[in-house]
């Protein structure tokens, strides 16, 4: 009987010892973790962050384009499954913009997610002992440029409600800053990035940058964005300086520039705003005013092609008969910034600095490029601003500009209201989670 007790004891002790001895931690089986990158990242790991950043810029980009297009009265976004594209965004049935809905939460979070990735990239590059100083500058310059662009897109949505600039430490976020201050900081960030690119090695592959995938090209891209920010800040000479350092080319291809690109590869994305012509269930239709207001012979009518039959949205009663036809395939790129915009920025800055001749010649480049004769209107500040805005409307149609342009010229009340009970919103509220 003594034996039995011994057996029991031995069994228990053995098993206890067995349990104690096997220390198990499986780690994350599915993903790399932030800690992995911060330890001592290799070039390949940093390049993964660069590509992830470039890829992440496309998340919810379709929604951004849809909502800026809808509020800017460029497009109708009818959806078989979500009435809020018409109710909330247009103000149907007295609906207002919510601070807790997908149209602000999703794009806002997607942009800040990319900002976080950029911050992780900056930190990971700084911590790495496996790359040179000039390589670090290459990563930092890229990260800051993209960060500035992403912050600008969010600021475009929330405008006077501001954005948060200091977001490095998730547990200790900086304050929300207003539009002017945010634009200043975004401009500063772009300037910092530009100086980082001086003497930088670009060791990473880029997807949507075409020939701008080296340090010099990235500076040109950075300056193009700086020119856009400058006109938003009404700093016209700064804009012109930035244009000179960018890929601006008055006689160049309108579509030269940097794009969000799409593909069918594994883990890649398709163009989120592409729909085949005459598609039903989900609709992106040109606002009727687009074809009503367009000048004769303007080839940009091709961006809004007639459907086989018109579509009426049951929630709002609104009708459209032209499909938006800007992105004509599932892999069509969506421009981040392109030469046509730069030409129009050039025109705008020259109008604002009373250099009408250069402005008119730039506008004529646009007009002639789309099958229109030279500008024949008055060469006054106001008339030229109107013409410039009109060219921007057609040249940058459905690319997310109209609403912002009309807002910065205080012209939102000139956007066409389909019914008197609708509203043109000035800005989105901050997501409730930011307040």
């Amino acid at each position: 009987m003594k034996k039995i007790i011994n057996i029991q004891f031995v069994l228990l002790l053995l098993t206890m010892a067995f349990i104690q001895s096997c220390k198990k931690d499986y780690g994350d089986l599915n993903n790399p973790t932030a800690e992995d990158f911060l330890k001592n990242a290799s070039k390949d790991q940093l390049n993964n962050l660069v590509s992830g950043t470039e890829s992440g810029m496309r998340n919810n980009l379709g929604l951004y384009l849809d909502e800026t297009g809808v509020i800017g009265r460029e497009i109708y976004r009818f959806s078989g499954s979500d009435p809020r594209y018409v109710t909330d965004l247009l103000g149907v049935n007295d609906a207002t913009l919510s601070n807790n809905s997908f149209y602000i939460n999703n794009p806002w979070a997607a942009r800040y997610r990319v900002v976080k990735n950029c911050n992780l990239l900056i930190q990971a590059a700084a911590n790495s002992t496996l790359i040179t100083e000039s390589a670090k500058k290459g990563y930092t310059g890229f990260a800051k440029t993209i960060k500035a662009y992403q912050l600008l897109l969010n600021l475009n949505l929330t405008y006077a409600n501001g954005i948060r600039m200091e977001v490095d430490d998730p547990n200790n976020l900086g304050p929300i800053v207003g539009n002017d201050e945010a634009l200043t900081e975004i401009a500063n960030l772009l300037d910092e990035a530009k100086s980082d690119f001086g003497g930088a090695d670009v060791l990473y592959p880029l997807a949507g940058f075409g020939t701008f995938d080296n340090a010099a090209g990235l500076v040109q891209f950075n300056r193009a964005l700086a020119a856009r920010v400058a006109v938003y800040r009404q700093q016209w000479s700064t804009a012109l300086t930035a244009l000179n350092e960018s890929f601006f080319n008055l006689t160049g291809d309108f579509y030269a520039g940097v794009n969000n690109v799409f593909g069918t590869g594994s883990g890649d994305q398709l163009n989120p705003v592409y729909l085949p012509r005459n598609y039903s269930g989900e609709w992106r239709l040109a606002h009727p005013s687009y074809s009503e207001d367009i000048e004769a012979n303007d080839d940009r009518i091709g961006k809004a092609v007639l459907r086989a039959s018109s579509v009426t949205d049951p929630n709002s009663g609104l009708t459209g008969d032209r499909d938006v036809w800007v992105f004509t395939s599932g892999t069509a790129p969506i421009p981040i910034i392109r030469n046509e915009e730069l030409i129009l920025i050039y025109a705008e800055a020259n109008i604002q600095t009373n250099n009408f001749t250069d402005a008119v010649s730039a506008l004529n480049k646009i007009r002639n490029g789309h099958g229109l004769p030279d500008y024949g209107g008055a060469e006054t500040h106001d008339a030229l601003i109107t013409e410039m805005l009109n060219q921007r409307r057609y040249s940058l149609f459905a690319e997310g500009h109209r609403w912002i342009d009309m807002r910065r010229y205080n012209l939102l009340d000139e956007l066409p209201l389909d019914r008197p009970d609708l509203n043109v919103w000035e800005e989105f509220p901050l997501p409730s989670t930011e307040q």
Binding site: N31, L173, Y274, S310, G317
Partner: protein
């Protein structure tokens, strides 16, 4: 440690006691029968306080040599046991056992290795017999068969899709984001119940931006189990009963015992069910007129065209009821079971082979299940028993395409936009017309698509029971139990390029492969020690280990070559893989003491660690204790007086719930571009210090039986506190993260369960057994360290769950409160539930059984009707009940954005869940056929509800916290079956 000392002390006592000498023995023999003189096979005949004994044979006879001064206990499942002193026996015994209506003598598992009779139990443990589970009106799957049968449970079907998918919540919601579903243990094997998404989200975009979603409507894997194989189910509803299962037990434990062989003649049984399923209810469709057709568009030209289209269709007699066409099929059902039981004194077996084949209420949907089970028990010698149970299952479910959808592709969403005058039928050449009203042609989708879940599953459990030592008043046993549950799940979703909504993707093939292996073992020592007739100690201690390895590979191919499904026959392919792996280790000690068979004390503790916790090496402690006090056994009341049995009981226990898998990591997902691999930080921030949720439960109650046990009642009150429950804290998204897991608060569930068992009629010719259960639960969030959280719905516009301190955990809030704020419009929690099970037997031959289930109150968020209003097709679109000369649908639509009240609807019901009528023919024992049973049954046939969608039982988000969200689900069905069963 104290327990261990006690255990050792007990063993030392045993050592010092001289073995009792059996001076005299005698041999007794006899026959055991029920009240109707039918022999009871396998009744156990045991010398009290030992494990020595025998079992009756096929004729109910036994023979046993016992000491003259011994006490003999004769028992059989479902009957009251009887005690007889050996000294008083003369000649052959003829013992009649009475039916145990109150189930006082039922043996209930109380530990990982021990069990106790219900009359001494400190907890309210619900049990379901095989007959109650499957013997009235069999449901399609095992999980559906539980509906309405567990007092204290809120059981809800996610949809009517074939192949199961049921949420079981025991005593309220025990977690918000963590696991809310009980642990299923089948013959000692921890069965996996993961719901694995088939990746339909890639087509439906119900949750945009991901491949899989909780809205993909997968089945739950426990549905694979065959109800016919089940002997008995015990339900440990909370921590006070289930603490010994430690950190897996917070949502309760469902212990399933399958059928075992019996010594004696081999019994061959063959049964066949034939029947059909039909949709339980259709909503109806809008009756169009030319005017109404015109009103679908605000554009005058389009209106005119629509009006003309309607008139043309009307003239051609081509106005259709597409809802009926899609959901109105009658599915043929078949189920065949062949079983063999038998064995010798040493070895017994149960074998079953079964095949089920059912079509659904939608064309091209259905469920198949084939299963083979072999359970073998073998006695190596008097001291060592070994049991092996094996089960192979092959199941296949075709589930159609239903539920929420942001792409207009599911049947329901497409139907909601499609008026009856649209032409969706294929032309003579088989070409389906495009549906101009929606993104898809649901008739075409139904005819061409595939959404199949196929499972191959192998479950094996092993039991080893060895008596290491025994004396007259003590015995020590080693119990080893363990097993594995392995399955391969293949999901196959196929959308050919010719489908209307495949214009962009040009054919999608989603192939998912899942492999899951769960293993577990329990090694324990159990000592029984009876220092005197009036005192028994049971000490158990042991170790457990559970591990799991889940690996899911999902391939989504688009641009699929026509007619092909292989993912390489495609222009584009994305793949995703998800793995989880865990190992949990536990140590437990339990002590039970029985004093004079009247006072039972239990105390136990379990220590658990898990790789799922923030710190994988930290042990968490889960204690439990219970007491039951049987007053009738104390001699306060004489047995046979007013009270046949009267027991007071109280129990306390703790258990845990693991943090969500991966919650401790801040991870980066893959996000590629132009062939460059990219890493993009995930929106969820990791919490390295994440802890398990902890639950403490106290329950108390009284059980009594009167009128010689003909009426018995149980009343239980419980109070369950969940501490450190996990919430996804919403972070300001400017941090780069939108959420983070935190141990954010406490919540409480308290409730009452009452049960009544009675035998109102006990004639020789008519017997009526009935049971009534009543239960209710109330929850309250008692503490939250983060702001209120909305979850599980589409936001306050339609009504959403809202976790808020001081409020019910399952409240539903929405727009429409004062000053434009939120108002509470409902609560998922029913006010109360009741069930009533009856079995009426006439002349021992004809048996009528039925189960009524009443769920009083409890709200759903119904946006199915909203969807039909938006699509202009709801049946009551043009009604004008408020006489404001505006169609009601417009009135309803106008409220969107101002109040969510209309969407939060009472989902209470009274349902005749099951009714069955069975007749047994008596056969002479000499004939080849020993028994013939015929029956007819109806399942879900009668429901009284005011709920406005297809069925009050629905859950768009599957089996998580948030059941009851209704978005164009697969409609619920009703079943009718004819049964024939033959015994050889």
């Amino acid at each position: 440690m104290k327990k261990l000392l006690f255990f050792i002390a007990g063993l030392i006592c045993i050592l010092l006691m001289p073995g009792l000498l059996f001076a005299q023995t005698k041999t007794i023999s006899g026959k055991v029968t029920d009240a109707n003189k039918n022999p009871l096979v396998s009744a156990s005949v045991i010398i009290k306080q030992t494990s020595q004994g025998t079992a009756t044979d096929a004729e109910g006879k036994f023979r046993l040599t016992v000491p003259v001064n011994a006490t003999i206990v004769i028992s059989s499942t479902g009957f009251k046991s009887r005690t007889i002193k050996a000294g008083e026996i003369t000649g052959d015994l003829n013992i009649t056992l009475d039916e145990d209506i109150a189930r006082l003598d039922e043996v209930v598992v109380t530990g990982l290795a021990t069990s106790v009779k219900r009359r001494n139990l400190a907890n309210a443990v619900a049990t379901i017999s095989g007959k109650e589970l499957n013997g009235v009106a069999p449901a399609q799957t095992f999980d559906a068969a539980l509906s309405g049968k567990i007092p204290g449970a809120y059981i809800n079907a996610n949809s009517g899709a074939p192949g199961g998918g049921i949420s079981v919540k025991l005593r309220g919601v025990t977690s918000v984001y963590g696991n809310t579903q009980p642990l299923y243990v089948v013959d000692g094997v921890f069965m996996d119940n993961t719901a694995t998404s088939a990746g339909l989200n890639a087509v439906t975009s119900a949750s945009p931006g991901t491949n899989t979603s909780s809205q993909d409507n997968p089945s739950s894997r426990i549905a694979d189990l065959r109800a016919e194989d089940i002997e008995n189910i015990e339900i440990l509803k909370g921590a006070s009963a289930a603490a010994i299962y430690g950190s897996k037990a917070a949502a309760g434990v469902i212990i399933i015992t399958t059928k075992k062989g019996k010594p004696g003649r081999t019994n061959v049984s063959f049964s066949q069910d034939l029947g059909f399923v039909k949709v339980r209810k259709l909503l109806g469709v809008r009756q169009f007129t030319a005017e109404r057709a015109a009103s679908l568009s605000g554009d005058s030209a389009t209106s005119a065209a629509l009006s003309q289209q309607f008139l043309d269709a009307q003239a051609a007699g081509k106005i259709y009821d597409y809802e009926k066409e899609i959901y109105g099929e009658t599915g043929f059902t078949r189920n065949t079971v062949l079983s063999l039981t038998g064995g010798s004194e040493k070895t017994s077996f149960y074998f079953s082979a079964a095949k089920k084949s059912e079509d659904g209420i939608i064309k091209n949907t259905g469920y198949r299940n084939s299963s083979i089970r072999l359970n073998v028990d073998h006695r190596i010698n008097d001291n060592i028993k070994i049991g092996v149970s094996t089960n192979y299952i092959n199941s296949s479910a075709d589930r159609g395409l239903t539920g929420n959808d942001n792409a207009g592709v599911t049947y329901g969403i497409a139907l909601s936009f499609t008026p009856g005058f649209a032409e969706l039928h294929p032309d003579a050449n088989g070409n389906y017309p495009r549906n101009p009203f929606a993104a898809s042609n649901p008739i075409e989708t139904r005819d061409k698509m595939t959404n199949n879940e196929g499972v191959n599953r192998f479950v094996t459990g092993i039991n080893l029971d060895a008596i290491l030592f025994k004396s007259a008043n003590s015995s020590t046993k080693f119990l080893g139990r363990g097993g594995f549950d392995f399955y391969n799940l293949q999901t196959n979703a196929l959308f050919p390029s010719s489908l209307q909504f495949q214009a962009v993707n040009k054919g999608t093939s989603i192939q998912g492969f899942t492999k899951n292996l769960n293993t577990n073992y329990i090694l324990s020592l159990v000592n029984n020690f009876s220092p005197s007739e009036k005192l028994t100690f049971t000490t158990s201690a042991g170790i457990t280990q559970e591990s799991g390895d889940f690996n899911n590979l999902l391939n989504i191919a688009t641009q699929v070559i026509s007619g092909q499904s292989n993912v390489n026959q495609a222009g584009a392919l994305t793949a995703s893989q998800f793995r989880t792996k865990f190992q949990d280790d536990g140590i437990f000690v339990q002590e039970e003491a029985s004093i004079a068979d009247a006072i039972n004390l239990t105390a136990g503790v379990r220590f658990d660690k898990s790789t799922k916790n923030g710190d994988p090496d930290k042990y968490y402690t889960y204690p439990k204790a219970g007491i039951s006090w049987n007053l009738t056994h104390m001699g306060f009341w004489k047995e046979g007086g007013l009270f046949d049995n009267f027991k007071l009981r109280a129990a306390y226990g703790q258990s845990g719930n693991f943090p969500a898998y991966g919650s401790k990591f801040t991870s980066l997902g893959v996000s590629n571009i132009a062939g460059f691999p990219g890493s993009l930080i995930n929106l969820q921030e990791g919490e390295p210090g994440i802890k398990p949720e902890r639950q403490t439960e106290f329950e108390t109650g009284l059980d009594f039986a009167v009128l010689k046990g003909k009426v018995s009642m149980q009343i239980t009150y419980y109070n369950k506190q969940v501490y450190d429950f996990l919430l996804l804290n919403t972070l300001p998204p400017s941090s780069g993260f939108t959420s983070q897991w935190v141990n954010a608060g406490n919540l409480r569930n308290s409730g009452i369960e009452m049960g009544l068992n009675a035998q109102p009629v006990t004639g020789k010719n008519i017997r009526w057994n009935t049971s009534v259960n009543f239960w209710l639960n109330r929850s309250k969030v008692t503490k939250m360290t983060i702001p209120p959280v909305t979850l599980g719905s589409f936001g306050p516009v339609v009504g959403t769950f809202f976790i808020q301190e001081g409020k019910s955990a399952t409240q539903i809030v929405g727009l429409g409160g004062a000053d434009g704020g939120l108002a509470v419009w409902g609560d998922q929690e029913p006010k109360f539930q009741m069930n009533n099970y009856n079995e009426i037997t006439f002349y021992n031959k004809l048996s009528l059984r039925f189960l009524l289930h009443w769920k009083n109150g409890g709200e759903n968020v119904n946006i199915t009707t909203l969807q039909n209003d938006i699509g202009g097709t709801s049946v009551d679109f043009d009604d004008d009940k408020n006489n404001n000369r505006i169609p009601d649908a417009y009135d309803r639509l106008m409220q969107i954005g101002s109040s969510a009240q209309q969407f939060v609807q009472n989902a209470g019901y009274l349902r005749l869940r099951e009714v069955g009528l069975y007749y047994s023919f008596s056969m002479p024992q000499t004939s080849l056929i020993k028994g013939l049973h015929l029956g007819v049954s109806l399942n879900n046939y009668v429901t009284f509800t005011k709920y406005k969608s297809y069925d009050p039982e629905v859950s768009n988000f599957g089996t998580g916290f948030s059941t009851g969200l209704d978005v164009t689900p697969f409609p619920a069905s009703k079943r009718a079956d004819f049964h024939i069963s033959v015994n050889f």
